[in-house]
Symmetry: C2
Subunit: 206 residues, 2 copies
Amino acid sequence: MMTDLILHEYANSGNCYKIRLTAAHVGAMIERREYDILKGETRTPGFLGTVNANGRIPVLQIGDTFLPESNAACVWLAHGSALIPQDRFDHADMLRWMFWEQYNHEPNVATLRFWRAMVGEANLTAQQREQIPARETAAAAALALMEEHLAARDWFAAGRYTLADIALYAYTHVAGEGGMDLARYPATTAWLARVAAQPGHIAITA
Amino acid sequence: MMTDLILHEYANSGNCYKIRLTAAHVGAMIERREYDILKGETRTPGFLGTVNANGRIPVLQIGDTFLPESNAACVWLAHGSALIPQDRFDHADMLRWMFWEQYNHEPNVATLRFWRAMVGEANLTAQQREQIPARETAAAAALALMEEHLAARDWFAAGRYTLADIALYAYTHVAGEGGMDLARYPATTAWLARVAAQPGHIAITA
């Protein structure tokens, strides 16, 4: 099982960080290949034709096959580990939070961070700027749903640290960079500290 | 394993249909409970407090536990069946298309259908109406990516019919109701026919 692994990524992306954090927990060695998404480096004919026709990072390259979608790459890496519950309900409940993350959380929490901390508000298009209030409302709703869940529980699924926590930690812990005020969510803040205290944890800047 | 299953749904939703289609394939009996999302029936205190704090359907109720997120419910139902590949890569690749469906396909293809075929264009808010061109562009890009994939393959993952096909079939086969022209995507149209020809297939109106 010594297949070469290459992560095609933009290191500051939470979606890419999820994969590195999962790899750190399971002890997988990954070669990293950086693309500047602000310069369109994932929209070149070479990238589209070989790495991902969807023009997005992250993509986990496993030997000569390519696996896009951050949460799918985490599932591949964590195969057979304690990060994925075996129990039928717990397993589906973990995926429930990972699908929710991609649908309700990432498009709002991550997009606000991308626009404000990476692109810069001055460089946004008029259409993007108009979307900020709606994205802020939806991001606050996502954080409120997490807060309600965590008020009564330590982890998202299965009563323990799983890929659901990794998927949600990635953009939540840097939500402040997008203008969200994490101090309003004390149960979430306590959960962020629990995640960061897990053995083998690495930072997004690592 | 005779746990009572209840699907909290809006029957015309593709996300709800995915669950019914998966249940039909695995022979699971599900009681159906309908909510009119146009009348806010999933935003009542009772629904939010008991069924789903996220205020959305579908939710699969398994005994007295609740599982939101359509694709997670499909995974729970199809547990141990041929609809979920066992192979490590094929399994992750199936999930890759299911995450992609929720991120790139559903917010565009399904939203256009909801706005045009259910809410009605005359009843949209100004903000919704302004978003139509961007959603159409993104929906066309999603269908083009499927078309490219299917030009060389019969199925999305694992070389056979899996939950990835079910997840993507749900809103693709009714994309015309949202104004998309499926005739532009011949490989996708042929794949739609292959899905509908699977033994045990049921229609969205069933």
